[in-house]
């Protein structure tokens, strides 16, 4: 029962936040944090648990958004069905891409995923007949359940964060299962994991496809929430931003992924008065975290706690 406490607490906070934050503007910002969280939670499985670097996740985010957006605007498919289609298509593509890519390691994997992301971005820009090119397209219909249309920020807020909560429950289960242990063993040493009988290639591709499919959901949500998409939302900078969110929060902890998405997702709001300087602040945060706390902010909390608890337990002995 105890392990459900953090999740329950999370749900309470998420439910309560809109009551505290009366300003609809903040609700809108939190919708984006939710969308980012979906990706970062699933990306933390790839990055933090399986130890595989992906600098191309914006591609899956984009493929999800474009598939869902195009199906609903061009072929008038119902939004929910379009979202499901985008998950399937992204999943298949991720499998086809992941099969060769995940054989690579380290810098090679990073560059290959970066290159793949860039190719998808070039495709969004260049396949003008299909995607409307650099200017993007709008009038994407909104999601609805029966008569309930998710048209204002607050409704979409609950939809997104409900999905985040479901995903968290799912991911927390995965982590504590056989798959989670297998993934951690890959991170430790792929060779050793293989020797112990863990089918590392199969686990890596499963988790890669899973995170791509979740990213597609996030992309679909983005498309149906903003109702307009263009390629720049899904460029290499977004991929790097997503990885940074995971790392800043703490990559071997799913809560860190949410924390990172919340911090960096709302950063542009605090940095508004810096204007264009935000890119510098963002780069500096990334560098400082990487140099001094590569385990992310969650690890900082852990260090403090360890020190505190350590002191307590030492006192009686003294």
């Amino acid at each position: 029962m105890k392990k459900h406490v953090p999740l329950a607490l999370f749900v309470v906070i998420v439910m309560g936040l809109p009551v505290l934050l009366k300003n609809p503007y903040y609700i809108g910002a939190l919708v984006f944090v939710g969308i980012y969280s979906l990706i970062t939670i699933s990306l933390s499985l790839v990055l933090g648990y399986a130890g595989q670097i992906s600098l191309g996740h914006a591609a899956f985010y984009g493929i999800g958004a474009y598939t869902s957006g195009l199906l609903t605007t061009r072929w008038h498919v119902s939004p929910w069905f379009a979202l499901a289609c985008s998950m399937v298509i992204t999943g298949i593509l991720a499998y086809a891409i992941g099969k060769p890519v995940l054989k690579l390691r380290g810098h090679y994997l990073a560059m290959a995923t970066l290159g793949l992301g860039e190719i998808v971005y070039i495709f969004f820009n260049s396949a003008v007949d299909l995607t409307a090119g650099p200017s993007g397209f709008g009038q994407i219909p909104r999601l609805a359940i029966g008569g309930l249309v998710f048209k204002d920020d607050i409704r979409f807020y609950y939809l997104v964060w409900f999905t985040v909560a479901v995903l968290l429950a799912l991911v927390l289960n995965i982590i504590n299962s056989r798959i989670g242990r297998a993934l951690r063993s890959i991170h430790g040493s792929e060779t050793a994991a293989n020797a112990m009988g863990v089918n590392t290639a199969s686990y890596k591709i499963q988790i890669f496809v899973f995170s791509a499919v979740i990213s597609a959901v996030a992309g679909g949500y983005y498309a149906h929430f903003v109702t307009f998409i263009s390629p720049t939302t899904f460029d290499a900078n977004t991929s790097i931003l997503l990885v940074t969110m995971v790392i800043v929060g703490g990559m071997s902890n799913v809560w860190g992924a949410v924390l990172g998405a919340a911090l960096l997702g709302t950063l542009p709001e605090y940095l508004r008065r810096f204007g264009d300087y935000d890119i510098l602040v963002y780069g500096a945060i990334m560098m400082v975290i990487m140099m001094f706390a590569p385990g992310g902010l969650v690890s900082l909390a852990g260090l403090v706690k360890q020190k505190f608890v350590g002191n307590l337990s030492r006192e009686p002995a003294a």
Binding site: Y108, A110, M111, G115, I119, M290
Partner: protein, 297 residues
């Protein structure tokens, strides 16, 4: 124009751009050999080279011959500064940390460049006349010859440096085996800093010579770096001759592809080559599979 001349024209253009990729690839290789790091900020060195040159020649009105070495020196300072501040203090960092730190470095450099030079592309006059030279029905811009000349100069200087000088040989020793190099009294940390300096210098040269043709803006570095990395991989990561051959090859392929297939997908060609090589033969054309395995990838 005959189809032969057109093809020749594409090849000339490709060789010029390819020379730049080759120089970027050489920059990647030097740092990689010495440290095992892929420097994601390599493209920013190229961008900075062009930008410094523009400021020195247009704002400060320095003659090109004076501005060139100053611009290179300034980029070297940035490269060394970056290594000293962000990479030098780290104790046994993981690959992921190194990747993210060099990406963070590239974001910071890009951000500073955006403020220093604005978002608009900046213009640098050609080194000599802009009248194209006719050759078998195709034309060559004199600037393209400058680019080729700079690549040749860089290659000759590097070959001399690594084969004939004590410091160059020490750097090669580091590339072969860092621990053994340390045992014979080579200051490995110094060599790492030197590799960043050298790599920044080559990047700066590439940036300075290409700017008159492509113009330069603060974001230009990323794509050049990605393609340069493609060249480094195709040539075999760490191989000098491989980098040059592969850089030229990718440049020509890209130019032909843009001409005959689709100019929209021009940028994708180098990336497809990069992925193809990674999937089929990660050791590259001239690289040795044995060495790759030793480098623990």
């Amino acid at each position: 124009m005959h189809s032969f001349s057109i093809t020749l024209q594409y090849i000339f253009t490709g060789i010029a751009v390819g020379s730049i990729y080759a120089m970027v690839a050489l920059g990647f290789n030097i740092i990689y050999n010495c440290t095992g790091i892929i420097n994601f900020a390599q493209g920013e060195f190229v961008m900075l080279g062009g930008m410094f040159m523009i400021t020195l020649t247009t704002t400060w009105k320095l003659p090109s011959l004076v501005a060139f070495p100053i611009a290179v020196a300034l980029v070297v300072l940035v490269g060394v500064g970056f290594e000293r501040i962000a990479i030098h203090p780290l104790k046994s960092p993981s690959v992921l940390v190194l990747i993210m730190i060099t990406i963070a470095g590239s974001i910071l450099i890009k951000g500073v460049a955006m403020f220093a030079w604005g978002k608009e592309p900046c213009y640098l006059p050609h080194f000599s006349s802009e009248t194209p030279i006719n050759f078998l029905g195709a034309t060559i811009l004199p600037q393209n010859l400058w680019i080729l000349g700079c690549l040749a100069a860089v290659v000759i200087v590097l070959a001399w440096f690594f084969n004939r000088t004590l410091v160059g040989k020490a750097m090669r020793a580091c590339a072969h085996n860092r621990d053994a190099a340390r045992l014979v009294g080579i200051n490995v940390k110094q060599m790492v800093t030197l590799s960043f300096a050298l790599s920044a210098a080559i990047g700066a040269v590439a940036g300075i010579v290409i700017t008159p043709i492509i113009l330069m803006d603060y974001q230009r570095g990323a794509m050049l770096a990605l393609k340069g990395f493609g060249a480094a991989i195709l040539g075999g990561l760490g191989s000098g001759p491989g980098a040059v051959v592969a850089g030229l090859l990718i440049g020509v392929l890209e130019s032909l592809g843009a001409g005959y297939i689709s100019s929209h997908y021009k940028d994708a060609i180098a990336l497809v080559v990069l992925l193809g090589v990674l999937f089929i033969r990660p050791a590259g054309l001239l690289g040795s599979a044995e060495i790759q395995r030793l480098k623990k990838f």
